[in-house]
């Protein structure tokens, strides 16, 4: 399995996935399809499965005119995802030392333990010697940020949107940078005196970064 670098391989994968999805039949037996095509609807049949080679675009003008234009501020209020390229990372910074304080103050310790390896809930800390990746062959292995997560941007994204568990989404961006720093420090991916900002989150090379491959199951007789 080749392991192409960078996000670019996902562009190729986007062309692979629909080939799998298209193995199913159309919508013939499933129930009522959309009603009569509205004036101005694009000529492409709504149920035509993508074949991965042609890209499709929406209509040049609204077809039905339902809905309200979204303003930039409305979009900004909800547009919280952080891309693997760092897109969406906010200004600000935090230190590992501050992160260790955040770890206590926001009670991260209650679910993840003093250093992220004690539980009782998801393990966050732990490397595998040589950064090997024997998860398929060793059922006892537990995945962690250090041995399984491919992007530190995901760590920032998930922590900011969903943590701490009892007060989700309430940490400041500076607190998130700091506590992400603490988790990377727990995993020996940052030094104790590190200052974490957007560049550090993007540039921190995660050990499992190149381990992920597209789905190669295609239906048919082969078990994959």
């Amino acid at each position: 399995m080749s392991r192409a670098n960078g996000v670019s391989r996902w562009l190729a994968m986007a062309a692979l996935v629909p080939a799998l999805a298209a193995c199913g039949p159309g919508d013939s037996a499933g129930g009522a399809e959309a009603g009569n095509a509205a004036p101005g609807a694009a000529a492409v049949a709504p149920s035509d499965p993508g074949n991965g080679t042609t890209q499709r675009a929406g209509a040049a003008e609204p077809v039905y005119g339902f809905g309200t234009p979204a303003t930039a501020s409305q979009i900004a209020a909800w547009d919280i995802d952080i891309g693997p390229d760092g897109a969406g990372l906010p200004p600000g910074q935090g230190t590992v030392a501050e992160g260790l304080e955040v770890w206590e103050r926001h009670r991260c310790v209650l679910c993840h333990g003093p250093t992220g390896r004690e539980g009782p809930n998801d393990l966050l800390t732990g490397r595998i010697p040589g950064d090997e990746f024997p998860f398929a062959n060793d059922r006892s292995l537990r995945s962690t940020v250090g041995n399984y997560w491919p992007y530190a941007t995901t760590l920032f994204d998930y922590t900011r949107r969903a943590m701490p568990f009892d007060l989700p989404g309430t940490m400041t961006d500076e607190e998130v940078y700091a506590v992400v720093g603490a988790m990377l420090y727990f995993n020996d991916l940052l030094p104790a005196d590190a200052v974490v900002d957007s560049a550090v989150v993007v540039d921190t090379r995660m050990p499992a970064r190149d381990r992920f491959v597209p789905d190669n199951r295609t239906g048919g007789p082969t078990i994959r």
Binding site: V17, G50, Q55, F212
Partner: protein, 431 residues
């Protein structure tokens, strides 16, 4: 006759004790049943001219001799029928459908399995908005009423958590598994809503958008990245389930629905969709819902649920009452389209017989299969294996082990089985 036999078998639940699953309350005794009937008659205002009494046990009144109950504004099950979901997960994150208690293919909405990642949000439909933005000409906010004005789509579809069946893949699966405990993260409903392609037409999706990011408004703001082709194919925003508004635990007031794909990607309580040219690499498509492989890689975006089947009758903790006719029955399903064939073995796979596929047989929906079997009273090992229209046949466990290794945790679809002993007792025994 066979219904009577089945009732007897199910009444055997309580004597088998453990399993902790379902149905050990409604059939506890004839006394309970009679008391319930008498109570129902009393509640309905009927004159309780109870029939004969034997000791302290009050016989149920002859229903042809007392006025029946009046209509009600919202119906409820017979007090004799108390199917329940099975709660699981240390964080209270899931509940499982009682597959063994259901008939046909539909799942009652209140028995639909649950898997959520930070609880069930309370959402006011009046203030609900769906934002679609990113690589579109016209970023738009849709109210719930807006969504309902578009042309509808409505289909019978299964949805299955990709972690379903993990208990069958364990090195030594518990013989006390029930259909519900091993594969109850599977449900089937009629899902109604608006095709995502209709909305993407409306907002002017860009031709070079290859992924869309979907986020819910739960406390985890659960997110997944989905290839655009699925939107142009058959993805929908669903707002109704089995004819009524979606239940809160299923995503009220609106959710993404991706037919045939792992349930996690059908983001509930959908709040925002951003069209993009790459996935976001959310937590639930990197740290979770990825499948380690023996070559040191991990399969990502493994969306499609491959063909699978499970016998739901007869199963643990039921007990066959004695030799004679048994109609073996269960579900088969595949995310790749139609179930083409289901075979049943009663001898552990030495011989296989084509099961009857009960209509309707629909793509990306559960299909009910049935197979008549004359039990001779000897040991038997019941198996089912499904084949879908792509020619994919449900594998044995060793085939999956060879392909993926023992450490993978999702997409467990190897053949499930049930071992019948001479005394009619049944244990879970996959192969």
């Amino acid at each position: 006759m066979q219904d009577g036999a089945r009732d007897e078998a199910e009444a055997g639940h309580e004597t088998d004790g453990s399993g902790g699953d379902v149905d050990d309350r409604d059939e506890r005794s004839g006394l309970t049943r009679r008391a319930l009937i008498a109570g129902a008659a009393a509640a309905a205002g009927g004159a309780i001219t109870a029939g004969a009494t034997r000791g302290l046990v009050q016989e149920a009144p002859d229903p042809t001799k007392v006025p029946g109950a009046r209509p009600v504004t919202v119906g409820s099950r017979s007090p004799h029928e108390t199917p329940e979901k099975l709660l699981s997960g240390s964080m209270g994150g899931s509940s499982r459908t009682p597959l063994q208690d259901l008939h046909g293919i539909m799942t009652p909405a209140d028995l639909h399995f649950e898997r959520h990642h930070h609880g069930i949000p309370q959402i006011d439909p009046a203030s609900y908005r769906l934002l679609i933005h990113g690589m579109v000409d016209r970023p738009t906010l849709f109210t719930l009423e807006d969504l309902k004005r578009f042309p509808q789509v409505s289909k019978l579809l299964f949805i299955e958590c990709s972690g379903n069946g993990g208990g069958a893949y364990a090195p030594s699966p518990s013989p006390q598994h029930t259909p519900q405990s091993v594969d109850g993260l599977l449900s089937t409903s009629e899902w109604t809503g608006v095709a995502l392609s209709t909305l993407f037409e409306e907002v002017g999706a860009h031709a070079d958008a290859t992924w869309f990011l979907a986020e819910g408004s739960d406390a985890a703001v659960m997110g997944r990245s989905i290839p655009m082709e699925k939107a142009w194919d058959d993805a929908m925003i669903a707002y109704a389930q089995n004819g009524e508004a979606i239940r809160p635990e299923q995503g009220y007031p609106a959710r993404v629905f991706l037919p045939g794909w792992e349930g996690n990607a059908s983001v509930k309580w959908i709040r925002r969709i951003e069209l993009s040219d790459r996935p976001a690499m959310f937590r639930d498509e990197t740290s979770k819902y990825t499948d380690p492989l023996p070559d040191g890689t991990s399969r990502q975006f493994s969306f499609v649920m491959d063909a699978k089947s499970i016998i739901t009758y007869p199963t643990y903790p039921q007990r066959l009452p004695g030799p004679g006719f048994v109609e073996i029955s269960g579900y088969a399903w595949t995310g790749r389209g139609l179930i083409e064939r289901v075979e049943v073995s009663t001898d552990g796979g030495d011989s296989w017989h084509d099961a009857v596929l009960q209509e309707p047989v629909l793509p990306k929906c559960t299909t009910r299969f049935r197979h008549g079997w004359e039990w001779d009273g000897g040991p038997a090992h019941l198996l089912s294996r499904a084949t879908d229209e792509t020619g994919y046949t449900q594998p044995v466990r060793q085939q999956v082990l060879d392909a993926r290794g023992p450490g993978t945790r999702y997409h467990s679809n190897a053949i499930r089985g049930w071992r019948v002993a001479r005394d009619g007792s049944i244990e879970f025994a996959p192969v």
